[in-house]
């Protein structure tokens, strides 16, 4: 008996040793510091949001994920912004913008009131530094400033403190829209430079500011990022120096909660104020509850099937008749009932809600098995065929792509097409093959990285998503040419018309089947007002108000 006690004691002792050894080497973290901010006189307004995060960096030069804009959007300002009231960008840091006759130079005047959270003035030098850095870092932001062929921003001039002139290599009808994205966030150059920020072409190897920017913000937005701990939480506090209208909440805690069920329970119990990652099936159980509101809205996330046009890669599905047969064989109504209420099916790859988008397809009547079989009969495989169907482990808006794949399998069986679902890991090769355009038949999703329909033109023949389906420009030169035409078209009405034409032309004849535009469901406590899904930020935190 004594010996057993000795063993136990020794075990405990050892554990303690391991623990203290670790504890000693730990620097005091922010948890300790935040204690001191307690005890202010007035009651602090605190908002707690639960999220399954996908972000890992808040450096605007690197971030691209779905939820990063929610944070970067309130900690940084951009020259223009998308407001909830309008589809067109409105000035934010800029007070006005003049576009040159040839569409190649944009002259922005910076609002003289604008200051960073640090107290520094926002100047043209900050804008130049931020844009140069984003462009030269050669990471995610760069892709929005300059494309693979070197088209985009070529030069930035700063004639005086409040004026920035941006020169483009060719006209871009969506340039103002692009400046609203987080890639164009304006950084406090003094702070970023002091922490290793570099904006010239040596940036990719030499810039070390990401470490700093991951843990605190250096912008002029209404909030500052107080702390970020991956797999734990992120804390935003009100920027006392904010130059615009002050938001209502003093402190916003974004708690990591990867499990949607926990989010659902926590919000119903009042432990958190907003739950962000709920599916339609989960919502069904709470709509009757009285303490919370269910908010839903359409997202710009669209799911699509890709059928590669190159027979060597796409095999049977490269045949245009097979592509049509598949288009009419799918049970979109059933697929939408998996994704949930509010799902729509855009005519083609331009999401409903964008400039020029046509009315969505009526999914109740679209499916036509007879037509599908007739198309299949015209193809070289009238009796059907068997084909592999790789699917990644991703889950847009919480709906696993494999679930969609299972439904697709069952639908296609009805016209004699048998697909073998091959689960793949996104990082373990699928992503590379998708990028390189070597997947024959698959299901994927897409979300725009800036709020403009031009974003969607990447699906056109010859463009980079089109390439992934082997849709080269020579397969449809007329359609491919429309890309350039729309990019250069600065008249919004004409651009809308052209975008409409693109949808008509691709509704039935394209290697993509856009099966759904996903909805988003949010459950929020009734204490929080103005909760809305935002396609730009996921949620505009500055709008939120605490009920009295």
């Amino acid at each position: 008996m004594k010996k057993r006690i000795r063993i136990m004691l020794a075990l405990v002792l050892m554990l303690t040793l391991v623990v203290t050894a670790c504890g000693n080497s730990t620097p005091a973290t922010t948890e300790g510091q935040s204690e001191s901010t307690e005890g202010s006189q007035t009651e602090e307004k605190v908002l707690v949001i639960a999220l399954e995060p996908d972000y890992f960096t808040f450096d605007p030069g690197y971030a691209y994920e779905l939820y990063a804009p929610m944070i970067i959007g309130v900690t940084y300002d951009t020259l223009y912004e998308i407001t909830p009231d309008s589809d067109f960008p409105a000035p934010q840091l800029a007070s006005e913008c003049v576009v040159s006759e040839d569409g190649l130079s944009y002259t922005f005047t910076i609002n003289p009131n604008a200051v960073f959270a640090s107290g520094n003035d926002v100047t043209s030098a900050d804008v130049k530094f931020s844009f140069d850095r984003a462009k030269n870092l050669q990471s995610n932001a760069s892709a929005l400033l300059i494309d693979g062929e070197g088209n985009g921003i070529v030069d930035i001039e700063t004639p005086d403190e409040d004026t920035v002139v941006i020169h483009l290599s060719k006209p871009d009808s969506s340039f103002i829209s692009k400046t609203t994205s987080t890639s164009y966030a304006v950084l406090d150059s003094a702070i970023v430079i002091a922490n290793g920020g570099i904006s010239d072409i040596t940036a990719p190897g030499k810039d070390t500011a990401q470490d700093y920017l991951n843990n605190q913000s250096a912008g002029s937005g209404p909030y500052i990022m107080e702390s970020f701990s991956a797999d734990d939480k992120l804390v935003l506090v009100k920027n006392k120096n904010y130059w615009g209208e002050m938001p209502d909440y003093d402190r916003i805690i974004i708690q990591d909660m990867p499990d949607a069920n926990s989010q659902l329970i926590s919000v119903q119990k009042g432990d958190i104020d907003i739950a962000f990652n709920l599916s339609a099936d989960q919502i069904a159980s709470v709509s009757s509850s009285s303490d919370v509101n269910v908010i839903s809205g359409p997202t710009m996330t669209m799911g699509f099937l890709l059928m590669h046009n190159d027979p060597a890669i796409g095999q049977q599905v490269s045949d245009p008749y097979v592509q049509k047969a598949i288009r009419y064989a799918l049970d979109y109504e059933g697929i939408h009932s998996i994704i949930g209420e509010g799902t729509v099916m855009p005519v083609s790859f331009i999401q409903s809600g964008f400039l020029g988008a046509l009315d969505p397809v009526d999914v109740k009547t679209f499916r036509d098995l007879e037509k599908a079989k007739a198309f299949l009969a015209q193809s070289p495989y009238p009796d059907g065929f068997t084909i592999d169907f790789p699917v990644s482990n991703l889950a847009p808006e919480g709906i696993p792509l494999t679930l969609i794949a299972e439904k697709v399998k069952s639908d296609l069986q009805e016209i004699g097409i048998n697909i073998n679902i091959v689960p793949r890991d996104w990082g373990g090769g699928y992503g590379d093959e998708y990028r390189d355009g070597t997947l024959g038949f698959t299901v994927m999703y897409w979300g725009p990285d800036y709020y403009d329909p031009n974003n969607q033109l990447a699906f056109l023949p010859g463009q980079f998503v089109g390439h992934r389906a082997g849709w080269t420009a020579d397969l449809n030169p007329e359609l491919a040419a429309m890309h350039e035409q729309i990019i250069r078209e600065t008249d919004e009405a004409k651009r809308a018309e052209l975008l409409g034409q693109v949808q008509m032309l691709t509704a039935e004849n394209s290697p993509f089947i856009v099966y759904a535009q996903y909805p988003k469901y949010i459950v929020a406590s009734k204490d929080v007002l103005n909760v809305e899904y935002s396609n730009v930020y996921r949620m505009d935190l500055t709008q939120l108000k605490k009920a009295d």
Binding site: L11, N140, A143, S229, D232, P258, I265, G429, G431, A458
Partner: protein, 340 residues
Amino acid sequence: MNLAKFIVKRLLFTVMLLIGVATSVFILSKMVPGDGVSSYLSPRSLANEQIVEAFKVKWGLDKPLIVQYVYYMKNLLQGNLGQSIRTGNQVVSDLVKNYPATIELASMSILLATFFGVLFGIVSATKRNSLIDQSLRAVSVTGVSVPSFWLAILVLYVFYYKLGWAPGTGRMSLGIQAPRHITGLYVVDGFITGNYEAMLDSLSHLILPSIVLASFTMGLITRTTRASLLETLSTDYIRTAKAKGLPKAPLMYRHAMGNAAIPVLTVIGVGFGNLLGGMVLVETIFAWPGIGQLAFQSVKSLDFPSIIGVSLLIAANYAVINIFIDVMYGVIDPRVRYDR
């Protein structure tokens, strides 16, 4: 002297073992199909070759394998685990940050498991084949048979959602500030700093996940304690002792417990290893910011610097525990020699 030599030898071996673990993960990481870029770049950036190239240069993915390996090992031997691709932090600082949460949960679970396991085991063995033995055996078998991911969902549903007896996920309730950082264990820190609110709150958050984690180890310990007690009781020398007319109770404690302790200790060690592995799912489901969740997220995004870091940490823990157990063998049973 003998013992000291043994420990030094084992520690040296542990270092080699860790090098082996790092090497294996490194090799595995290079077997991943594709170039490991797609998890970190946006779809638009992936289409831009300059950006893809810049990413590879930044993370050294453009160098020949052997160069990458030598470079990595050189850093590793200097204690530099590199930078996590996913979090952008130094892997060491991620580990240091998450380790206390895991240790707190693991200690709580192992204490629960050992206490109940040994207790149940002794009761079972002494009251062999009684109703209480049968029920305890049923409990322990259920413990080792229940899928932890399922149990985690179940207890959350029942005790948090339906009954409201236990708090939900995370280490602390959201309104409560963590205690000042001393050891990183909230319960201990709360106690030391006199922040009893935080202490009790974090303790209550420990209950559900530690029960889920402990169930398997508890069952294992019960079973082993019972079995090895019965086994030693049936060995020749105990039978002889019994034949000599020694009374039953002291006999059990003096002889049987000592001998039975070895397998029990082994199982506690194995159990601890299992716990650290089982952490992966339980921490993820309970949103526990520990090593397990770090491991899960790192594997999910194929962040190999971080995967190697986590594997090394868990392997080191495991090795240290094993050395400790081997040392304990000798303490319990002097016949064990260390020179083997």
